[in-house]
Amino acid sequence: MFSYYLELALRSLKRSPGLTLLMVLAIGFGVSASMTTYSVFRAVSGDPIPWKSSQLFVPQIDMWGPDGRSADGEPPNALDYVDAVALMRDHRAKLQSASYRIAPPVQVPGSRRHPISVSGHAVYSEFFPMLDVPFQYGSGWAVDADTNQAAVVVISGKLNQEMFDGKNSVGKTLDIHGKDYQVVGVLAKWDPQPRFYDVVDTGGFDTNSDDVFIPFTRAIAVNLSNAGNTSCNSNPAEPGFVGMQRSTCTWIEYMAELDSAAAVQKYRDYLNGYALAQKNAGRFNWSPNNRLRDVPAFLDSQHVVPSDTKVSLMVALGLLIVCLVNTVGLLLAKFLRRSSEIGVRRALGAPQAAIYAQFLTEAGIVGLAGGVVGLVFTGVGVFSVGLVLPKDIAALAHVNFSLLLLTLVIAVVSAVLAGLYPTFRASRVQPAWQLKSN
């Protein structure tokens, strides 16, 4: 029976090619505009570490007091050196790491090539297991490297390719900032977006890869200053990088792994206790105003998803709705034009269900055709968005199988939905009236 409806539908669609084309294009445009903007939205609103994001927490401490809070009472989004080091020393979470951005020059020892500037982070040893950072060769460094301020480095696969032709370079040395560092690990491809461990410096997205990771304690010891953002509520009292370390300027990111609700509560209590102790010591003269958010909540609080992306998605969904209303109207016109045909079919004994099947099949075919057109437009759309949007966001939007499937499904489902009312009207055509008037 279905093949009969299919044949009827195709014949009917062929009879008015203009109207058919119009409906197909409307659905194609509507679906592809939504899918294009959705591809961008999906890229920027994704969870960068879905299996673990609810166990990773970002502590915020109010070291500036009421003067330095944002309008909604939020404390700074990064830590100053004093608090970050105190939290590391207390070591109350299962795993934790303070980190800051570095951009040292790097050169292979003995080579005559130009040194290159790379981006990286100074971190603690627990950074790697905490964030499940994947390794190609070797591993992160041991805890004693943190305490010894050891000259060890973990490099990205990309830097390994550039410096060591992609071979296992564990044990080799690399000249970083004028000193020799021993390579202990080479990362496999690791480019989480949003860059959840460094929203403060990237705003969420980064086209540059993180190519070197060295021990935090080492970076401080060799005066490798912060290459990311620094925010100060008041000027450092003392000069130099040491003055920066003693100031309340914030430039350090911090992350802690807390595996259970109880652990989270305990850590909250610890942070409160810490802030109270600072108050009692006279360092803060205000009540504790800490935050402890997991990664998704922290990304949300930092407005990582650009509002432009959200507005575009909303507007494109609006476009899809208009296209659907348009399709409802056109299908209505198309179906009711065939009232006499419906009358004949009904008079010959076709039940209402048959009319439903016939016309919904037709709507479904229009939807499928619209979906195919939409696939092409979505491809063009995602490509064009890549040209007009800033690199850090555009680089993330891409076409993949699930997006294509979604395009087709949405096109067919929305066309069938749009066909419901016209079909309902068609099924109520009175055979007697149609036959009489003919």
């Binding site: 445009f29 507005v311 609006g318 348009n326 056109l330 968005v385 800033p390 690199k391």
Partner: protein, 416 residues
């Protein structure tokens, strides 16, 4: 004529409730989206057409960092670079600065006019510039003087002393010293305890970022006579007219030839290496331009779809009513009457649609204001949207209505 036709049109529309409702709804939704999108486009275009206060053509920026030199050792290296670049054919003058308009980030500090003030009078962009920067950029000095070469101090960014002299923008001057001349007056920058004297006032200079977060401070710029020895400075190169490309091609190699212990990045934005100012501008406003393009594309598609929908449904109505049209023609209605009938019909539907649309547009605008820190939709955009959709409706109806007007009176005699 119009008045006479309204009654029969309304009576006929009652028999096409669903179609009428659908077109009206489509027009309402389209209006709501289009006028908000137009407003977004206009805001972005206004944003990206702000002036920088400098002469943007024939201007090249070259970011360079030293790999091993630091502290006092940097100053002679920078001076050697400046000399090398000035000797390049096609180069008119070169300055060195940390910070320039639309760079894509930089250094912000609050300023006060008293040393112990708690809250800053304004937050500013700090450009650490030498004595050539003002003229190389082509910024207009409206009072006072430029820095002298002997006033430029080399220092570490972690150890900034308050500069003796400052040049500030007119907007900042009027903000910190309203209703009086700021020239010769003191300014305390970044919590400094020692005052700096304002020795020059520029007509205008735009801050280091085009992002919306810095809109409020984008006109507050301070030039300080300093050379930062630990930051990625940029050489600002004013080329002779038409020589920009030639200089850009050789700048990187020339600098590496002079001293290879440096890094000139390849990237865009803040960390960019060799960039013409046109590229700086393009990268700074990519977001705004992209949003304007996306919104325009969506508007265009929306209007086309809506027009096509009206054409489709009106055509259906015309074909459905051929016999009635024939009867009216046989009874003496002119072609003009038939045309008028369909145009009136569309006008009435469109009118109802835009009235609903106005409510939807304002609702959408309020929702956007509540969620995305935008401004309320101004009335002109609503009016433009209304006019646009009424015209679109009439234009889309014209072709089917003309076809209707050509229906021959003979149709009346044919069976349905």
């Amino acid at each position: 004529m119009l008045v006479l036709q309204i009654k029969p049109v309304l009576a006929a529309l009652k028999r096409h409730k669903a179609g009428t409702l659908l077109i009206g709804l489509q027009i309402a939704l389209t209006l709501a989206i289009v006028c908000n999108a137009l407003f977004i486009i206009q805001q972005r275009l206004t944003h990206l057409s702000r002036t920088t206060g400098i002469v943007e053509s024939d201007l090249l920026t070259v970011g360079s960092e030293w790999t091993s030199a630091s502290g006092a050792a940097v100053e002679p290296l920078v001076h050697a670079d400046l000399q090398t670049l000035r000797e390049l054919p096609g180069v008119q003058d070169v300055g060195v600065s940390y910070g320039y308009p639309l760079r894509g980030g930089g250094w912000n500090s609050g300023v006060t006019i008293k040393p112990d003030a708690k809250q800053p009078v304004a937050v500013t962009w700090r450009f650490f510039a030498d004595d050539h920067v003002l003229t190389v950029l082509g910024a207009k000095l409206i009072a006072g003087r430029n820095f002298r070469a002997d006033e430029i101090r080399a220092m570490d960014s972690h150890n900034l002393a308050a500069p003796a002299q400052l040049i500030i923008t007119k907007a900042l001057a009027e903000k910190v010293y309203p209703n009086q001349s700021a020239l010769g007056k003191p300014l305390y920058i970044g919590g400094a305890t020692a005052p700096s004297t304002i020795i020059g006032i520029m007509d205008h200079l735009q801050g280091g970022s085009a992002s919306s977060w810095s809109d409020a401070i984008s006109d507050y710029v301070v030039l300080e006579p300093k050379l930062l020895t630990d930051k990625s400075n940029a050489y600002l190169i004013r080329t002779r007219p038409g020589q920009l490309g030639a200089v850009a091609n050789v700048a990187r190699d020339t600098l590496f030839k002079a001293n290879r212990l440096r890094i000139i990045p390849n990237g865009e934005g803040e960390g960019g290496g060799v960039r013409s100012f046109a590229q700086v501008r393009e990268q700074a406003y990519k977001n705004d331009r992209g949003m304007a393009i996306i919104m325009s594309a969506i508007c265009a598609v929306l209007l086309i779809i809506t027009a096509a929908g009206i054409v489709g449904l009106t055509s259906f109505w015309v074909s459905q009513r051929r016999r009635q049209i024939g009867v009216r023609r046989a009874l003496g209605a002119t072609r003009h009457d038939i045309l008028g009938y369909f145009l009136t019909e569309n006008f009435l539907i469109s009118l109802a649609g835009v009235l609903t649309g106005i409510v939807l547009a304002l609702g959408l605008s309020l929702w956007l204001v509540a969620h995305f820190e935008t401004r309320r939709l101004p009335l002109p955009f609503l009016l433009i949207g209304v006019a646009l959709l009424l015209l679109l409706g009439q234009a889309a109806t014209l072709a089917p209505a003309l076809r209707a007007s050509r229906v021959s009176p003979v149709e009346a005699t044919r069976a349905a």
